[in-house]
């Protein structure tokens, strides 16, 4: 087989957005993932959006069972999985029915012709065959009998027809790889590795992939061949990474940087479980993973480990944070380092477990009883989850406080190329245990006060096993200094103030607010978390058109970076796009008395750059009008 990565007759384009859609059992996530990997190794910039139902296997062929994977590959730097796909691979009628409305006008549909038979059409809700009723007239339709061709190519290998059919996603992958001039070796190598020991499966998948690849040529689809040149990314070594993996590795890196063992207490929950899976693999780093009996036990165990001197983490999603609230309040009271990772998903209640949303910000800020302030850090791109995890751990350890780290379902599962950092350049995390008494009692004897504080109002971390520093901590209010149980009203007031003050002061050690784009702009987009990609995309298009727009992305949501208020007041309009009903905008308005305006989307989907671009254009024209 020729590798057509450099096909001379291919049409060059800057970017393409492909959406693979099929039944949950069709292997669309794997197909998309493989296509992405090949593109990454080829050197394109890319961003992905996996979308799958909460059901493991909804009834085959139904709309509920449609699983899709969207990827944008580009020769230019990009930050989103694309506004709308230009190519839709539809493995069955349900996939076409559910995802056609996303396809760009004039886009290409590659359909598995064999699946478009009466029963499947009926299950998807089609009255007439869309291939025949003219409803696809505005699109380029490529019908390919993928199931039959896969079966045929597998037959000589002795693979049973039913087993052979399961390889049809590799046929689709082969065809699309040919059309987009992807290198084939990475996929073939991956098949051999992934299915090692299952020779029949390797043979069937390889045959199907090669058949799909060859099909393009023999079926004279040459006019569709497109090539996307490698992107000119900053030089260095790259890997393709999703948010949950980056976050897991960030936690491990923080443990290495701090010189402390990592302890994870977790209870499986979508879309956070992959962090537990990933960390459980790395016991050779001294990582202890504890799958608890419930969310409360998970955070409680982590706090126990923190008391014992470990870098303690608990990972979950919104429903889990709600359950952990009381224990997090205890960590606030005990002033122990702890990182709570919230991979946000659609809510309330079970909501949309596999879809993204960023509606836990106010819970992260205020979702505990009593006055219980804690730092909140948000990750903003899949790869940046690595840095965000280190930052959350650094704050927790250096300031002896629980920290909420927010990510979301989109960042968790989406991937992008990551310029690998030099591990020697990672931030140092300065942490030590108390080893000596820190006070002298009336009799002149050295004693240990667990709530004596340093100049940053941070208390000492004395871990069990240290002679002479035995002390008791707990949820009851403690006396300022000695740390004994205290019901004194003035002491409670003072301790409440200190708990707030010590978190507020962290801002003095953080970078001041950063304004990107035009500092003199009239309009500023203020974002947090995963809206970063769409805001960046919109900014690129607006500035390319010569429009003045600024962008502030807030990584530290509590405390806010110094200078944020002044920066916000310098703009005529502040627009705050959020995947919630307006949570950051409330905080900004309350904190800084600015007339910030929210733009909100709560549909289980990230913003597209086009949506934000249009909002800004509309605002600018209103301002002119």
């Amino acid at each position: 087989m020729t590798d057509l990565a450099d096909a001379p007759n291919a049409r060059d384009v800057d970017r393409v957005v492909i959406r693979f859609a099929g039944d949950s059992g069709d292997g669309m996530q794997l197909t998309g993932d493989r296509f992405t990997s090949a593109s990454a190794l080829f050197g394109n910039d890319l961003a992905t959006l996996p979308e799958f139902p909460a059901e493991i296997r909804a009834p085959a062929g139904t709309l509920a069972g449609v699983s899709a994977f969207q990827v944008q590959i580009s020769s230019e730097p990009i930050s989103t999985p694309g506004d709308e796909p230009t190519v839709l691979v539809a493995m069955n009628p349900a996939a076409l029915m559910s995802d056609l409305n996303r396809l760009a006008a004039g886009g290409t549909i590659i359909a598995n012709d064999d699946a478009f038979e009466e029963r499947n059409l009926e299950k998807a809700g089609y009255v007439d065959n869309p291939f025949e009723d003219g409803s696809l007239d505005g699109y380029t339709l490529i019908r390919v009998p993928m199931t039959r061709l896969t079966r045929e190519v597998c037959e000589p290998l002795g693979v049973k027809p039913r087993d052979a059919e399961r390889s049809k996603n590799f046929f689709a992958l082969g065809l699309v790889s040919w059309m987009y001039t992807r290198p084939t070796e990475p996929t073939l190598e991956w098949i051999a590795q992934k299915f090692a020991g299952r020779d029949a499966v390797i043979a069937a998948n390889t045959a199907a992939f090669k058949a799909g690849h060859a099909y393009g040529e023999t079926a004279e689809l040459g006019s569709h061949v497109v090539s996307i040149a490698p992107a000119s990314l900053p030089p260095g070594e790259y890997t393709n990474i999703n948010g949950n993996t980056a976050l897991s590795w960030g936690l491990i890196a923080a443990s290495v940087q701090a010189g402390l063992p990592l302890f994870l207490g977790s209870y499986p929950i979508t879309p956070a479980s992959d962090i537990l899976h990933e960390l459980a693999k790395h016991k050779n780093f001294g990582v202890r993973t504890f799958q608890a009996e419930d969310e409360i036990a998970a955070v409680s165990a982590a706090i126990g480990a923190a008391y014992g001197g470990h870098l303690a983490i608990t990972t979950t999603s919104g429903p889990g944070v709600a359950l952990k609230g009381e224990a997090i309040g205890l960590a606030v009271s005990m002033e122990l380092p702890l990182v709570i990772v919230d991979i946000q998903r659609g809510g309330p209640s079970t909501g949309l477990p596999t879809k993204t949303e960023a509606s836990d910000l106010l819970m992260a800020m205020y979702g505990r009883h009593g006055e219980s302030p804690m730092p909140v850090v948000a990750a903003h791109s899949p790869a940046q989850c690595f840095d965000a995890a280190i930052e959350a751990c650094r704050i927790a350890l250096e300031y002896k406080t629980p920290v909420m780290l927010l990510s979301d379902g989109y960042l968790a599962n989406s991937s992008e190329p990551w310029l690998l950092p030099d591990v020697d350049s990672l931030p140092a995390i300065d942490v030590s245990y108390a080893t000596e008494p820190n006070q002298t009692n009336e009799d002149g004897e050295p004693v240990f006060w667990p709530f004596a504080r340093d100049e940053k109002l941070v208390r000492p971390w004395a871990v069990p096993g240290t002679p002479g520093l035995m002390h008791r901590v707990g949820g009851l209010e403690k006396s300022d200094g000695p740390g004994n149980v205290s019901y004194d009203p003035a002491n409670h007031g003072r301790m409440t103030d200190i708990r707030a003050e010590r978190i507020d002061r962290i801002a003095d050690d953080l970078p001041d607010v950063v304004v990107e784009g035009s500092p003199g702009a009239k309009v500023c987009l203020v974002g947090w978390g995963s809206t970063w990609g769409a805001i960046r995309g919109a900014m690129r298009r607006l500035t390319a058109d010569g429009l003045d727009v600024a962008h502030i992305h807030i990584q530290h949501l509590h405390p806010f970076p110094n200078g944020l208020g002044e920066a916000l007041r310098s703009f005529d309009r502040v627009i705050v796009p959020e995947l919630n009903k307006g949570q950051l905008v409330k905080l900004l308005r309350a904190e800084f008395l600015v007339d910030a305006q929210g733009v909100n989307k709560v549909m289980g989907q990230p913003f597209t750059a086009a949506e934000l671009e249009s909002i800004v254009r509309q605002t600018l024209s209103e301002m002119e009008g």
Partner: protein
């Protein structure tokens, strides 16, 4: 452990904090038993941690001059599990009441027991809610009249020992607050046991449930009402050891020794792998108004969780070598731009 610490006294294990239980509370005698026993173990104070939840019993850590966490309601076994996994070198005690351990924290208790984490769990059972001022608890008898059950409670109570045996516990014992020596013996046995140990301590709440255990624990009643379980010995009780326990079709039954003969009595075997007989013994008394077994019901050796976890870490390091961050970041395919 240092030489100095092996010669501590009760005073060394007590904090300077004023003990704030109601005068006459059974908790005082449990605290005394603990403070008297600790110096005998030869463990140092800095290597010892007491962890509690919420309730009267949960104030216990404030009075022990060790490391300690007064945590949140019901969760002490979970905090202790995390600490034990992180720090298998420590000696960890969990203290809680019947509400803390069997109601709000029932889930954590059973999971700590089944995992067999090396913690010693003391369950102070007074069959009432004390700190919230007198509601019925998950061990209160059916029909209990309290503020929250003026017409009598409807809930079938838990039998703590039965629950623990059912939860795969490897060590289960029962003692009571009127017998310091027996408490000390049970605490010591719990500490010696490698794995999770549950010791139920019948404890009098003289304010909200006074005399709940008088029928069995008053000195005059003990001979006839307390059945001492001793490993390897036939189970007998009574002033003249005239009564005993036999197994009858899966049930443990109290008999007169004269009727059945000494050889028919159950010889207590706390190490029996099958928990059925221990469980049957736990069902002998429906409550502390009938002859009630005390002592060690079950003490079997089973893999301990935290050390098994440490072993996994060690073997992972042996196989994969110590963690290499730069290599980790390159563990998926990479390319150079």
């Amino acid at each position: 452990m240092t030489d100095v610490e092996t010669t501590t006294t009760r005073k060394d294990w007590a904090t300077d904090q004023e003990v704030r239980w109601c005068p006459g509370c059974g908790d005082y005698s449990i605290l005394t038993a603990m403070q008297l026993m600790m110096p005998e173990l030869g463990v140092s104070r800095e290597d010892t941690v007491f962890i509690s939840g919420i309730g009267c019993a949960a104030r216990f850590p404030y009075y022990m001059n060790t490391y300690g966490i007064h945590s949140i309601h019901g969760r002490a076994p979970a905090f202790a599990t995390g600490l034990a996994v992180a720090r298998p070198d420590l000696s960890i005690w969990v203290v809680g009441g019947d509400g803390d351990m069997l109601s709000i924290g029932g889930n954590h208790l059973i999971h700590a027991l089944r995992r067999n984490v090396n913690v010693n769990i003391l369950l102070f059972n007074n069959m009432i809610y004390g700190l919230t001022k007198g509601q019925y608890s998950p061990t209160s008898e059916v029909g209990k009249i309290t503020k929250s059950s003026p017409y009598g409670s409807l809930d079938q109570p838990f039998n703590a020992v039965s629950v623990a045996i059912g939860a795969e516990a490897s060590f289960v014992a029962r003692t009571h607050d009127m017998d310091r020596k027996h408490m000390q013996e049970m605490f010591r046995r719990a500490w010696e046991h490698p794995g999770a140990s549950l010791v139920e301590v019948y404890q009098n709440c003289n304010v909200f449930n006074d005399g709940a255990f008088d029928t069995i624990s008053k000195r005059a009643n003990r001979d006839s009402m307390l059945i001492n379980l001793t490993h390897g010995e036939p189970i007998k009780f009574g002033a003249d050891a005239e009564r005993g326990v036999v197994m009858d079709g899966g049930d443990a039954v109290i008999v007169d020794v004269a009727d059945v003969g000494e050889d028919a009595l159950v010889v207590h075997d706390e190490r029996r792998p099958n928990p059925a007989v221990s469980f049957a013994l736990s069902r002998l008394a429906a409550g502390p108004t009938e002859p009630t077994p005390i002592g060690v019901f079950r003490a079997v050796e089973r893999g301990e969780y935290a050390s098994a976890n440490s072993a996994q870490l060690a073997s992972a390091q042996e196989q994969a070598g110590p963690g290499d961050l730069a290599a980790l970041l390159r563990s998926n395919p990479t390319w150079t731009a």
